[in-house]
Symmetry: C2
Subunit: 454 residues, 2 copies
Amino acid sequence: MAAITVKPSIPKGTRDFGPAEMTRRNYIFDTIRKVFRRYGYQPIETPAMENLSTLLGKYGDEGDKLLFKILNSGDFLSSAGGPLPANPEKAALMISEKGLRYDLTVPFARYVVQHQSELTFPFKRFQIQPVWRADRPQKGRYREFYQCDVDVVGTNSLLCEVELVQIAADVFKALGINVCLKINNRKILAGMAEAIGAPDKMMDITVAIDKLDKIGLDNVNEELRADGLSDEQVEALQPILGLAGGKEEKLAGLEKILTSEVGKKGIEEVRTLFGYIDALGVDIKTELDLTLARGLNYYTGAIFEVKALDTEIGSISGGGRYDNLTGIFGLDGLSGVGISFGADRIYDVMTRLDLFPSEANAATDVLVANFGGDDEMYSLKVLARLRAEGLSGEIYPEPAKMKKQMGYADKRGIRFVVLCGENERLAQSVTIKDMAAGEQKTVSIDEAIAIIKG
Amino acid sequence: MAAITVKPSIPKGTRDFGPAEMTRRNYIFDTIRKVFRRYGYQPIETPAMENLSTLLGKYGDEGDKLLFKILNSGDFLSSAGGPLPANPEKAALMISEKGLRYDLTVPFARYVVQHQSELTFPFKRFQIQPVWRADRPQKGRYREFYQCDVDVVGTNSLLCEVELVQIAADVFKALGINVCLKINNRKILAGMAEAIGAPDKMMDITVAIDKLDKIGLDNVNEELRADGLSDEQVEALQPILGLAGGKEEKLAGLEKILTSEVGKKGIEEVRTLFGYIDALGVDIKTELDLTLARGLNYYTGAIFEVKALDTEIGSISGGGRYDNLTGIFGLDGLSGVGISFGADRIYDVMTRLDLFPSEANAATDVLVANFGGDDEMYSLKVLARLRAEGLSGEIYPEPAKMKKQMGYADKRGIRFVVLCGENERLAQSVTIKDMAAGEQKTVSIDEAIAIIKG
């Protein structure tokens, strides 16, 4: 192995996580996982690599380009079955048959179809795994990031929507993040398109009004006209876009405008969902946001989005109901609903607002100093006792100068240092130093354990 | 999205993990993680993708071929800088600059060098992540599998070796697996090569005797001769290969044969390590195995391997000391030692010997039956109480027939079903059915909680 003198690096858009970040990230994952379990969801994991036939065509043309493709092993050129065409997408398919997963939803749909005979429906699963996207790296956007998805498939019951709202409430309460959960319904969006006589423009209208917050009403109207809506249709949409007030006012306003069956159904679903939330006293701020569409084509009922309130980081969670996700893999008639928690965004919010509790701390409980010689074995036995009591502890591996050993404890953020020199060994005691208080005293091992446990 | 009628599948050598497997796997990971933490090791994670410049040349020519390479994004053919040569390895490098990690050791070395200014040495880290190898898939060998590595770098102290033995003892005791930890030392292997006058053949000798268990003494001798050892040299090696008895007998035998400085140092290191293990009473069966080499070129001192005793699965853990791993990335002089736990092998051993405890069970604690109508809200409120008590619980999402709801609880392995019908609602009580015992009774909510908590 020849020495390389260039400082090593990692691919752009990817990250290393050191101990401090890991501990905070695990605090988030553990909190989310605990809530998922409390609601009866069960963990699954799928492979990082999926067949490209599973992934392609599921995320639109843009998504296909953002898939990381794995080069076939071995003599990939000979097995390509012919010379590579200049078109990179066609050429890629001749030398690559696997790709890294782009999200957890399509692998979940594939999983449900592949394992349908083993599963009990309704099937409630959660999945916490990284996904990969060849996006242009930018601040806060990565090419490898974790998703935390929770979904139930195999039932149309609105109780599932209620449960997801409860889960969001529990997760963000446990994390200490002040949020607003925005709710909309795709059927209301469809009802709007029908109400203005443009049912075939539902997607365009949805995409345009999804941008209302970002680009403002005038630009949305312009985009709607560019999409082929007549001035009359754009005009007819204004009362809907302008609906203000609380959910009751908005629903009352919608009831006057949406007269189609699907529109009425959407209003009813939203009313039912809010009714459950109120009756159960679910502890989360909610809002009916008629401009919420989340761009995703596959939602068919409820649409959710969670925003952090005390900082400008935006959406930290979102989801909705999809009626036929497994249909793309040949299994029709399974309705599902789910919500995804964005671990990176949540991490950023908690860091910015200083919300991590002191437990989310990577430090070891205690360092046993190393005096070498005869004292070493006594130190090792003391350390074994501390560990047997459930404390995390380490011994400095060499009998270095005390200043160096103390410096190590300090840099590592280890609060207690236990010293076992000759006097302590002969008395079967220890001297314990509290690095935070700067105090030390000589006590029995049991007393030291009590002090460290606080 | 057109419907696909072919049943979806996953790439060969990869696996889906369903709820039951996940819970058992997490039991293993959690047990290992808890021990690592108790010994003061801290978690890190590195990206799935590394630059190929980081990975290539680190695992030998065969390893280079087994790397999964990621096709460059965009117009990879135009940016290849010329027509692709017929040689697949050269061609791959023109259209691929990233690969999936092959193990956790090289990314760790890269991490240490890249982040050296932020780290406190000795640096004790653990890492539990999947790795990918384009191996020919076969029974028990996968293309995606988890490694659980624990290493300390930045000290030569043998206390680290002792600590790794303690960690292995704690892990396998906690998992209930009866094991033997085999120990050898690369310096002893070097001393053997010197003792027979073939110091330049140390690697060949090591590789050959590593196979002693598998292919037998005669075949090993033949391989040694094929490697260029003279008959006299092979003959001179026989007393070493034939050393029998306990560690004391073997060490005494070695002391007569190994006279070089490195050989003596190896014997001294092994004696010291066993001395610590005995004095601390580390609770694990150990053995000095002079044929243990573990094929890996980078070990320079202690070599470890753990075998499960009660089943024929073979090695479930292994590691050793490497003196200059970070040298390949330009940072010399950092000695490290580590051990890796094979989660898949451990899973197989525990499954075969039926060692998973009943806690390693994916089931939800309780299902609340759904009677619909007025009873539904009462059921939801009871469920919220159960969850607030830390129980995992779910409501059947539809007011289906009781037989169907009971069948769901049964298939999911949910032991308790709580029924909240009109009588219970009016009395603010619940009827609880123990699916295991087949009994049911009507009790207060508090009593039900006590029953479920057992």
